[in-house]
Assembly symmetry: C2
């Protein structure tokens, strides 16, 4: 059984695998776990011994099938609890990440399954991220970043690539919430910032950094 800490590594390796499909680097993990590369090395050796990752020294890690299965379980729990916190307890989407980080480590399958039923078997969490099924399947959602939309197009906001409270609160202030439909008016050639309009309201401007982290359908 993977420890609390090991679970966090699995989840993180899964997340970073999207960017580094043929091996997540030690340094990338060290940065995101707020630990030193040396500590990561130790942990990777241990995870490899447990059969949860493929690890070749100096070459980075990938998840084994079992490791990926476990990572998806954790992500399932995380996202279901986020739905609970937002839908049932009334938290904002910018407030729930840290609490879900703790709740996700409670492994009882019966709890997870009943929670899912209680929530109406949701498919997506409050940030638009898909919730893995009990068996670990993940619908391949094919959204694209707002920064890639051509001027003139009108698209719905379907998700975000970042979950930091600061980023999400920034979106709140701009009125950019999940499901909201925006028209891309113009993309600045100077700084790639994007001018948007929501319904009939006056245009708002978002930085490239924001546009890169907002997913649209």
């Amino acid at each position: 059984m993977a420890s609390f800490t090991e679970e966090n590594y699995l989840k993180l390796i899964y997340a970073l695998s999207a960017q580094q499909p043929d091996g997540v680097t030690t340094n990338a993990l060290a940065e995101r776990t707020n630990t030193r590369a040396a500590s990561v090395s130790d942990m990777l050796r241990k995870l490899a011994e447990k059969g949860l990752v493929h690890y070749r020294k100096y070459q980075g890690v990938t998840l084994t099938n079992e490791g990926r299965r476990q990572a998806l379980q954790i992500i399932r729990r995380h996202r279901l609890w986020e739905v609970f916190l937002v839908e049932k307890l009334g938290f904002g989407w910018d407030e729930v990440h840290d609490m879900a980080e703790e709740l996700e480590h409670i492994r009882a399958d019966e709890l997870t399954d009943r929670l899912s039923v209680f929530l109406g078997n949701p498919q997506f969490d409050p940030h638009g991220d898909p919730i893995p099924t009990p068996s670990g399947e993940l619908p391949p959602t094919r959204y694209h970043p707002l920064c890639d939309v051509a001027a003139g197009e009108t698209v719905p906001i379907m998700g975000v690539l970042q979950h930091s409270p600061a980023f999400l609160q920034h979106l709140n202030k701009a009125g950019l919430v999940l499901g909201c439909v925006v028209k891309v008016c113009e993309i600045s050639v100077f700084d790639r910032s994007v001018a948007l309009s929501i319904g009939d309201q006056p245009a708002i401007f978002v930085s490239y950094e924001v546009a890169r982290n907002v997913l649209v359908g």
Copy 2:
């Protein structure tokens, strides 16, 4: 900030203080934590250094005001989660203890308070135990054990002194659920077992051990 483990000690010291008001013994703690007395000694020294317990070597421990405050916070979270698991997710009262043991360690006050509101600010958990207020007050419920009721009296079941699944499942099978009103028909002089009737149904017999652990109003 007390660690996960320290929190479990505080909660346990609080619980055992009812039986050992002038000092919970090291062995009592060792037995209930499934650790050795030596480990308990170490932990008590540490808790004393943090100002959470009064500890005089060889004399047992009592909680300081701060220790009791923290213990009541943990108990509040535990019992609120038990209500959630039973009322919202449909678990039986015999199934929720272990899950609540994990959920209780999530400290976010905002979460606890919103959970309480979501549940309708319940006063009692599914076992009839009172839920401490956010400030740590506990209504002094004055119930007495079923074994002390005189033959002929009719009383409602208000709580239990034991939360083991085996005990609670035993009560389920006997039809003894919270709120159920029972008439004490006879108390055996031989083994102190109790003959009960519920409504018009034929009498059932419960052992002294059971009667000692059921609280009635």
